[in-house]
Structures are given as structure tokens and as C-alpha cells.
Symmetry: C2
Subunit: 583 residues, 2 copies
């Protein structure tokens, strides 16, 4: 079957005159979670992991994956057709692709390698990255439609329903947001802005969908003008009730979106964000004759700054999710201590069930349920139905869900699978306590206005660095309608400016392969400090319990001990606000 | 006199067809310290401060300065000719210039403002910054020679002598360095590299000069090829003895430097660093027909990584400077307690005298001697001959010198002017101890390989941020042949990669205007940690005493207290190496 599909794709490639074709994991909505049945990459390779990029040449095909998928990639692909490119830890998958493309450059220095790519699945900055890495000896050729899509034919996916959120709970009307955006467009001397991030469209319209896994967005594309937001979507999907109250929103079939710019298009300046739009989007703007203006979308910080209604909604959702995790943690130890057989997959199912019981409408990502050494695999998103959880080992649970409010939750706890009065080993306690120190450093950090993500990242890592430990992932990401939203990005050297009201994770960890993994993740926000003008402090929005059996008090400073006492008090209190932690 | 000079300059401007002329503080060697008598900006404005940029229009002139020079600029310039542009704290002087240029844009939107600039005193990246800030409505026109130079006529400056450093003490021969550079050029597929930073030329050639204030470099320009280094300098200044042993070095008059590329120039690729070369240098490369290739000069990290001989030379110089500061500190308190009248200027003179007694060949920058509230003026480089130092107040001393080895020293101590058994006020102790905590955070920091300056910056500032305090300058700069060398840069969000063997300052401070200023500065390096592969730790290269009378133990953690005990032990020890602080 794969042989047949590859043959068809190669025919299309040959028609288009390209030597190589790059097939991306994402879809034309730049979705992080693409439904399996819609994924072009799954269709052409059979590989079902969440991340993996494909390169197809005239006679071979390559699948590049990172450490978490080395085994699965080899299992799922046919070696007769596919060679797996194993990106080493801490190198990007794209680097493996670039390396392979370099190897494919023609021996003849004057000939160029013609690389086809799917412009609707790559951002202009992503493309620029490829271009700069490949240099002048490769030519990047946009293929629209993608040869994979052309070979595959149309696929049908059931469109879900579109609903309006309770505007009281998000604190602002769509009209209000559009007016703010309109002002920003005026300031930027723009006539319009192309919007393709689905969470930005959901945010602006106050609409939500249910057609995509692990998110409450809906497939669409939008073009904001100074007085309207044109949403490219089948208008039949928008109920009359919705349309009635949304006076600034125009729902038009996607094909008509560009036509809506009319004949005056040539005189217009349309903004696009090279990191949030697709190359296809940019090409479409150019096609109308308008001038595309690259910029950092003003929607990023707008969406990231949560108002008090949003903070209240999110905090309420986080509290429900905390309870789910708390119950799951206790359930697992009780079962295992009682001698029951529970696998990683069983535990993930239990977590899902508890979320459902708590009123969640869906998970915000696949449950990470990793026992013992599996905890060292950073995105361990396929809990094993065979791996039985053992007493005395550590369990890493990273999970989240959506409630009515439509905001994602995200929480990680690592805990000892044992009786309540047990005590972790010296090694378990040392690692856990060091990660906890890093988490406390983040949760108590005070930063000046306009500090960057890189500064908070260093403050969180410092206690681990001091012990020669580190973690090979970011310290935090924004959370909102999507569980991963940007800004902010909190990572090494990140230039992302941190602002009041941003909601983000702080999630340090350690992953010694022979030991396993420990990660502690809390969602936090940034608040003004009345007695310290010009500064913001980090405040946790969740007080989910920490595992006392894994804390080694000798490794804590007096400040950290006092903080943990206060943290436990806030957790136990029914009025969290009053007891808010002073950092 | 100034009127007459401005008139002459305006005549040249009119001949060149420009509306405005930008006159820079620096010279064609991009010197940080330009001799007063050579400075074009001093000549045209009468303003003698170290930093200040001039704008001349057809009928007015402007001098932009930052906070430290607001008063001096108004005193030294004639209001009939000059308007002082006061750049507010924390904004760059160039921003004030850009603002004024915006105000000068012609009302008629179609007309452009013609801005003349001196291409030999601005870097291509500096120029790019102006260009991007000014947009399409200003045209930047290079004027060579500068209208100010043309109006002024030739100036004579006495050329100093050029000497060879003791190569044992710098650990490498010039030939050895040239071979390393040659390999790097080959890797970069370059035929040559234009070198204009005087400290890079001094570093590569192992030659030093004495013609410039506060540095051991000499005026020259250099072009490295794969097998030679052409140094543009009057060859008569190079003694036969030097020329004999320097087989890779070719000394040619500057005018002949470009001719040395010969007829094959058109086929050559010459590297230049947009941040370390001048626009003039770039224009010269273009004139030869060669292809200029922008890059981050490989000389930056080469020069910054000190070998063990350099570290030994530097440590020895720092120890001598420490002793000078120690003596100066004790001198001042003794005199003031004994009722003697000592002014800031007297104290600066005393420091200079002590440096001279200690064998220093020159200062590495003007002594900062700031009493009480004057400490809040960050670069207070004009100690007052009227301001008498009072008992019980704080004195901020920031100073450094050169010894035979040719490396700059740099040390800041803030101390209580009082008897040895006195005690600072609550406020003095609080601020001092908090700054000390920041300094300790820096001196004990452990960082992973390839960490950035921004990470160390955040770690140093965190203890101050936690109290709502901050400082409006960088945390540290590289130190070598020049007292300010780059890389590294340790500042907010700095992408400068930190490497083993770099030598740099860590100098946190607080400057509440109503209180004064406290800064503590130690020079440090980065070392490998045998038991922690992949990590580097900061190690101080100086153990100059701290003022116990200003330390409030209640504000210190147990770790910090233990560190200070150990620090004092190392200071007291004759064998510092053995007692090196474990972080």
C-alpha cells in the first residue's frame, strides 16, 4: 500500500520537476495535534507518532524523528521503502532533514537540488531557516496542492459544531477585541492582518469548535480589516443565533476570503507574522496585489494578557484538574500497595475517567503516564499497556483537560508509588528536592517590567545547574485556549517579553536515563507588586500537593522551607486568594 | 571660535549637499577613549565629556548627552550655538539623535532629509540601526573626509613607540595566532579578514603601543590573508628588531594596504564584522572589487579565551591592583577620621599615585571617586576638587591600571568612610548586603556549556529583583588588552555565549538617587568542573576585601555566609590557588 502511494506521489513530483519532496507533520492550520486520519505524513509513511518529518526522493524515502520515536518509527515503517533518520537528543528534527538534503546535493557543483515543499504547512520563517541552512545549491519550490494530497484525493472530515463562549467568563466581547485590534492596525498603518493560528481566531471571535483533537478551536482562516473580521469557513456552519450577535464578523467561504479585498487590494498593506502564518498565506496576499508587511502579530500579546474574568475561569479549571490529579495519585499508590496490577495505560485511562467525572469536555493533550525509567523519555505520550507500575518506583503524570470555560489545564506531578508513610530512596529524594527548588525559584521569582523569558528560565535552572543538572526542554509555555500558546516562551535565551496577566507553565525536571524522570509543573501568572513599582512577581495559579515523601529538608534553604509550609496552607484553605503566597 | 568653526563646517556641508551632519564621539579607530586634542566632537562643540553626539543643521547645532553629562554639557557649550538634548536615564544617546532627526524631517512628505555621516566613525550595524529608525524619509550620505576634519585641517599627534610583549607572559606567539586565524578563514571560505579593532590588532601581533590614553594599543588597520597579516601603519615606526622576528607580519603604509590585494582582488572574498569594522572599511573592500562577507569576527572568541599564561599574568596584575585599592580605602578612612580634608579629586589623585607606586604603567580608565549621593551617578568620571568626603558616608571607588603584562585591571569597592570598628546605618547595610548577595550569586554561578550572557545576568540580578531593586547598566564586560573588550557581554537578554577562559567583570549595584550608589565589582573567569561534565563555573580572579562594617548577616543565607568566610580565607592566604573557592 505504501509502495503504491509512494509511486503516485513520485509521479506528481516528477510532473512538478522536483528531486525531493518535504512532507510535514502539521496541517494547513499549523495544528500541533493533527487528527491521524487527516495526516498526510501518516498516510504516506504509516508512522503515527506526533512528530516526524518525511523526505521523499525518486528512489528512497526518509522519516526523521527525535529520541522518543526512534523505536516506534522503525516498527511502523517498512525498511524496503523508508530509512529512519534518528535526530540525536537536543538536535531538532529539521536539522536531520537539512543534513540529509545536504547529502543529496548533486555532485556536479553547478546543478541545483530541486526541493519541493508544501507552502500551506510551513511558515515563512521556517522556510527562511531551510533556505539559509541549504544555501544556494538547493532550490525550494512551493507545490500547491501538496503532491501527497493530490495523490491521495480529497478526504472528508466531519465538521463539528461551532459554539459561542459565555462572554462573562472570558471578560470581553468579540466586538471589543476587534476594536482593540483595529486600533493596533491603525497604529501599524495596516489595512488588514492575515490570521491563521486557530487559537487566535477562536480568541478574537469568542467562538469555539469541537472538531479537532485536544483543542477547542475550529478550522478556519481569517482576515482582519480596520472594521471587520472576515472568517473563511463554510457559512452554513454558523448558526443564525451566532451570526445575529456578531456584527463585526463576516463568515465567508474560504475561497471568497481573498476576493473580499476587492479591486482596491493593490493599494492595501496587509500584515502577516512570518512565524504564525503559512507561506501559502503570504503567497495569497501577494496574489491579490496587496503589499505584505511582516510583523510580530499584535494578537500574540493581546491573547496572552488574561483579564480578571479569564484568570478566574482558568483558576477554577485548574482547581478541578488539581483534584483529578490528586485523586489519581492516591488511587495508584493504594492499588499498587494492595498488590493490584496497574499498567501505565491503565493509569492513563483512570486519569481520563477522573477528568470525565470532574466535568471535563476533553483532554488538552495525551496523558503522559510514565513509570520508573520511562519518565526519562521527555514526551512519553504512549503509555504502555504492558508496563506494570511497581511499588517504590516513581510515576510521572503530566496531564490536562478542558472544562466549559474553554481554557486548557496542564499539570505535572511526579510521585512515589507507595504507602503514605513510605520514604523515597536517597537518590529519589535528592533529585526530587532539587527539581522542587527550581520550581520554587520560578514560583517566587520577581522580575522587572519587560524582563524576557530567558531571564526567568535562568532563575529556574540555576539551582539545578549548581548541581550539574539540567533539562533538555523549555522551562515554560503560555497556556490559554490551546495548552501550548505563544507568547510567552520561557526558555534559554528566549527574547519573549513577560507581561502582567500572562499565564504560563513553570516545569523544571531532571532525566538521568539510568534513573528515570522527575518533573514538577505548575501554571502561574505575573502580577503587579504594589510596594515595588516597576516589578512583577510570579504567582502560582495551582496549589496541587507536592510529595512530602520525596522532599529532603536538608537540601532546602530556610526560605524554601517556609515557602512550602505556606504553599501547603494555601492548598488546604478554601479561600486561596486570601492566603496568596508572598514571594 | 565655535561660531567660526561651525561656519566652516556648514560651508563643507553645503558643498556636499547635506541638510544635517552627524558628528560622532569616537574616532576612526572606534576608540572608546579618544584623546581630547584629537576629538572632532570636542573641536566643534567644546564639550569634553567622554560621550556625546553632535548634530549640525544649517542654522542650529545639537549636543545629545545622557544623565551624567546634562550639567557639564550646558556649562561647556554656548547656548547661542548649541541646544543640549538630554537623553533620559536608560535611553541611548542615539535615540535622542534619532528623535531630533525625526523632528527635522521636511514637512513636505515627498522631500527627503539629507543626513551626512562620517563613514569612518560608524559601524555598518550602527548605520543600519539609524537607517531602520529613520525609515525612507531620510537619506544617509557618507562624507569622506568628515566636513569637520576638512574644516579643521590636519592635526598632528605624536606617535608613540611600539613594543613587543613578552610572549611567555601571553602564552602564544604571533605566528601561532596567525595560523589559527588562517585555519578559521579557510573554514569560512574567506581569502581575508578586515581588522579594525585596535585591541584585536594588538592581540594578534603581540605588539603594544603607548600613544592612546587608557590603553596599550596603537593606531593601525589590518588585513589578514590566509598566510600574512598586513598591518597598515607607518613602517618607520616598527623597529628592525621587531620586524626580524615577525615573519607573518607585513607593515605597510595604510594607503598601500588595499593595493596589497593586487589585481586578483575581484575574485576575493573578504570578511568583515558589521559590529567591529567601520562603514569606511566596508566601502574600501567594495572599492577593490572584492566581495565583502559579513560575519561575527572569529577574533572575538579567540581573543576572549585566555590561556593559562594570560590568566596567570592577569591574576598577578589584579592582585597588585587589589592592594592599591585596599591601601586607598584605608588611607581615606584614616584621613577623614583624623579630621583631614580630602576631596573626591584628592582621593582620585591618591589612587593614581598608589597605582604608580605599585609599578603600573598607566590607568585603564579615569578613576571613579564618588562620595555619598554622587555614587548614584553611574559613570562619575570627573571627581570634584570641591566635594569633601565626610565621615559616615559611603565612597564608591571604581578603578584599574596596566602593568608590564599589558592587561587591564578593573575593580570597584564601595566602603564606609569611618573608623574600623564603626558600623554602617541600617539603610547602608541593607543595600550593601543586597548588592553583595548579587555579587555572590555571580561569583558562585554554575552554567552549562554554551550558556549566554543573559542567563548569568539574570542569576546576578535575581537577589536584587526580589527586593524591587535593579541597576541600569550591564552586569559585566570582557576584560583583556582593553578594559572593555567583547565578547563576552553579560547583560539583560545578551546572546553572548560564555566560554571557558573568558575573563569578565561581575558588577551589580544599586543607585537610589536620594541615597547614593553601591557597586561591587570583581573580575572572574569560567572554569571546567571535573565532576560536572558539560558545566562551567564562575571563579573570581580577585579576592579584594569586602567591607564587613556594611554587611548585615541577617540578610544572608547560610550558603552566602559560608562563602564569605571562605572568601576572606582565600584573601588572607598566600597561596590563593590551593584555597580556590568551591562554588
Amino acid at each position: 500500500m505504501i509502495a503504491d502511494r509512494l509511486k503516485k506521489v513520485r509521479k506528481k513530483m516528477s510532473e512538478a520537476g522536483v528531486d525531493v519532496l518535504l512532507v510535514r507533520s502539521t496541517d494547513r492550520y499549523l495544528n500541533e495535534y493533527v487528527p491521524q486520519e487527516e495526516s498526510a505524513r501518516v498516510w504516506i509513511s504509516n508512522f503515527t507518532g506526533s512528530m516526524g518529518e518525511v523526505l521523499i526522493t525518486k528512489d528512497r524515502a526518509f522519516l526523521a524523528v527525535d529520541g522518543r520515536y526512534w523505536t516506534q518509527a522503525e516498527k511502523e515503517t517498512d525498511p524496503a521503502h523508508y530509512e529512519v533518520l534518528k535526530a540525536p537528543l537536543s538536535t531538532a528534527i529539521d536539522d536531520a532533514i537539512v543534513e540529509k538534503l545536504h547529502a543529496l546535493l548533486p555532485k556536479d557543483g553547478k546543478k541545483k537540488l530541486k526541493v519541493g515543499f508544501e507552502p500551506d504547512r510551513v511558515t515563512p520563517s521556517g522556510l527562511e531557516h531551510f533556505r539559509s541552512k541549504l544555501g544556494a545549491r538547493a532550490e525550494l519550490i512551493p507545490l500547491s496542492p501538496s503532491p501527497v494530497d493530490a495523490a491521495r484525493g480529497a478526504i472528508k472530515s466531519a465538521p463539528g459544531t461551532i459554539r459561542v463562549v459565555d462572554e462573562e467568563r472570558v471578560g470581553r466581547t468579540a466586538r471589543d477585541k476587534l476594536e482593540e485590534l483595529s486600533k493596533k492596525l491603525a497604529e501599524l498603518e495596516l489595512d488588514g492582518l492575515l490570521i491563521q493560528r486557530l487559537d487566535e481566531i477562536a480568541y478574537l471571535t469568542n467562538l469555539r469548535g469541537d472538531e479537532l483533537p485536544y483543542q477547542a478551536t475550529f478550522k478556519s482562516i481569517a482576515l482582519a480589516t480596520r472594521d471587520k473580521l472576515f472568517v473563511g469557513i463554510d457559512p452554513a456552519r454558523i448558526s443564525g443565533a451566532i451570526r445575529k450577535v456578531r456584527d463585526g464578523l463576516m463568515f465567508v467561504p474560504e475561497a471568497e476570503l481573498w476576493a473580499s479585498m476587492g479591486k482596491k487590494a493593490k493599494r492595501l498593506r496587509i500584515g502577516y507574522d512570518p512565524g504564525s502564518n503559512t507561506e501559502y498565506g503570504l503567497l495569497q496576499i501577494q496574489k491579490t496585489g496587496a503589499t505584505p508587511v511582516p510583523l510580530a502579530s499584535p494578537l500574540g500579546p493581546m491573547k496572552a494578557r488574561k483579564n480578571s474574568a479569564e484568570l478566574a475561569s482558568m483558576t477554577a479549571a485548574f482547581a478541578r484538574a488539581d483534584l483529578v490529579v490528586d485523586r489519581a495519585v492516591r488511587f495508584l499508590s493504594t492499588e499498587v500497595v494492595a498488590g493490584k496490577k496497574v499498567t501505565e495505560a491503565d493509569f492513563a485511562d483512570k486519569v481520563t475517567e477522573l477528568f470525565s467525572d470532574s466535568g471535563a469536555v476533553g483532554l488538552s493533550f495525551r496523558v503522559i503516564s510514565a513509570a520508573g525509567k520511562n519518565g526519562a523519555i521527555i514526551h512519553y505520550s504512549d503509555p504502555s499497556p504492558r508496563r506494570v507500575v511497581k511499588r517504590g518506583e516513581l510515576m510521572l503524570l503530566d496531564t490536562g483537560a478542558y472544562y466549559d470555560e474553554g481554557y486548557a489545564t496542564d499539570l505535572t506531578r511526579t510521585f512515589l508509588v507507595d504507602a503514605p508513610n513510605a520514604r523515597g530512596s536517597d537518590e529519589q529524594r535528592r533529585y526530587y528536592t532539587l527539581v522542587l527548588r527550581a520550581a520554587i525559584a520560578g514560583m517566587t521569582a520577581v522580575l522587572p517590567d519587560s524582563a524576557r523569558g530567558g531571564a526567568l528560565d535562568a532563575i529556574v535552572r540555576a539551582p539545578l545547574w549548581a548541581e550539574g543538572l539540567n533539562y533538555n526542554h523549555g522551562t515554560g509555555h503560555g497556556v490559554g485556549i490551546n495548552v501550548h500558546e505563544f507568547p510567552p516562551r520561557i526558555g534559554p535565551n528566549s527574547p519573549s517579553v513577560l507581561e502582567e496577566g500572562f499565564v504560563f507553565s513553570i516545569e523544571p525536571g531532571v532525566y538521568p536515563p539510568a534513573f528515570g524522570g522527575i518533573r514538577i509543573e505548575n501554571l502561574c501568572t505575573l502580577e503587579r507588586i504594589p510596594r515595588m513599582p516597576g516589578f512583577l512577581r510570579v504567582v502560582p495559579l495551582t496549589y496541587s500537593p507536592l510529595d512530602k515523601r520525596l522532599i529532603e529538608p536538608k537540601l532546602l534553604t530556610p526560605f524554601e522551607k517556609a515557602y512550602l509550609t505556606q504553599y501547603a496552607k494555601v492548598h488546604a484553605s478554601s479561600d486561596r486568594k486570601k492566603l496568596r503566597l508572598e514571594s
